[in-house]
Symmetry: C2
Subunit: 283 residues, 2 copies
Amino acid sequence: MRKVYVNGDFKNEDEAKVSIFDRGLLFSDSIYEVTSVIDGKLIDFNHHMKRLDRSMTELKFKSFINHDEILEFHRKLIEFNNLKEGMIYTQVTRGVVDRSFDMPKDVIKPTVLAFTQEKKILESDAAKNGIKVMTLEDMRWKRNDIKTTQLLYASMAKSEATAKGFDDAWMLRQGYITEGSSNNVWIVKGKIIMTRHSDNLILSGITREAVLKCAKDLGYEIVTKNFTLQDAQSANEAFITSATALVTPVVKINTSKIGGGKPGNFVKALRAEYIKQALETAI
Amino acid sequence: MRKVYVNGDFKNEDEAKVSIFDRGLLFSDSIYEVTSVIDGKLIDFNHHMKRLDRSMTELKFKSFINHDEILEFHRKLIEFNNLKEGMIYTQVTRGVVDRSFDMPKDVIKPTVLAFTQEKKILESDAAKNGIKVMTLEDMRWKRNDIKTTQLLYASMAKSEATAKGFDDAWMLRQGYITEGSSNNVWIVKGKIIMTRHSDNLILSGITREAVLKCAKDLGYEIVTKNFTLQDAQSANEAFITSATALVTPVVKINTSKIGGGKPGNFVKALRAEYIKQALETAI
């Protein structure tokens, strides 16, 4: 039985609960982070904490959670659950208060919860063979730069994709690809790497930032620029980045094979470089 | 201490909880309804149930909740809490399952929760004096026809409005007013009543439907048509409808007074007519 974390306590997963009056449940007034664990160590923890703070600031949460405290329960969850490879999910909601669209004027105690999930990260099938994506309209709200739990559309998109035999969905807004259901999107044309520029319509990924550096280290030119479905389908290579996908090749977009339907050499090199740098800084 | 309802049990409000793995909490994969209670009776209950079913269908929930069962816990909540006037909030989530963007393929048991809130509905200050609204951009997702708990932006909008001395926010998308934070919007020009046409960008309000009938009964012509901020600011009267606001006058939009800053005769008559018809069919 997994041990999970809720508001300072470690509980068995079937006993971990929050109030029905939690604003995370009633209003999606809540944010989260997912940190990868490899060899029992946390990848890019400090950047995830910075983004957690940013999300709380953007939503005008009145309390912050101490990063050392978060690091401590992360370490304990890894220990209790003997987690070697996978992720830790952490969610912070505004807290518990009687239901009202008008946010509480008083400072209320945020709800903090976290749990582990085991997952093959380094040697996944997706990394080896690449994934297939389909496109659909991006119908999400216009503040995807905040990592909130308003994830219903992303979940609907992912589910529609898997029901149709794809691995994920890429979302299109006004002709440009924004994001995958929970990852940033990239294409490679010759020596140029393109990823969507970071604005209010996408999440500025922690892995995206690290990969931008890795690509430079490998001598590639990077253009942060919106691209269309046609750009993507005519690319030499394509890939996604996220905390748990790391760098994962995309080998098919709708009916078009990319790179002949096999992961390309650049994405393999980039994934290897990212893993090397990530493990060097893991804590 | 309020008694609330969770998954078949009545609990004290401070003991009512859901799992941290509930998809309502993790993915906003959840819908709700709010039914008004006047004189201990439920207003428009059957229409709320029909809409609950529609929301569940749109989200491809695999289970339905029996309406008689819902009616039974509504009646018990009214009795236990001695509720004369206010509302009952009911939420249904897809249920509890280990976290994944890909929705569960198996049928899982939905989470059902409900609680009462006391509120002055018939004799509110807002109804007597009217409310002031400000406008801001509608940044919500594009499926507001489904009554989900993805309410963060609506809550941010309401809070921004009250912080600036207004009662609510009206949202603008591509130049047209869509909705208030939790209500439908209407304006009156001469003998013509205008309300935004019902599409994927607004909720098709239960009270909106009832009020359309009331307006006809009073001999007014109704046009369901998008209108702009300029249309609204030059209107003779303006109002909102919702389950708990019923018909509530709007007397100021941004810096413009409507009807000299006082509720107009039409909105007063319409409110009276709506209350008369609602009480006739209350159960």
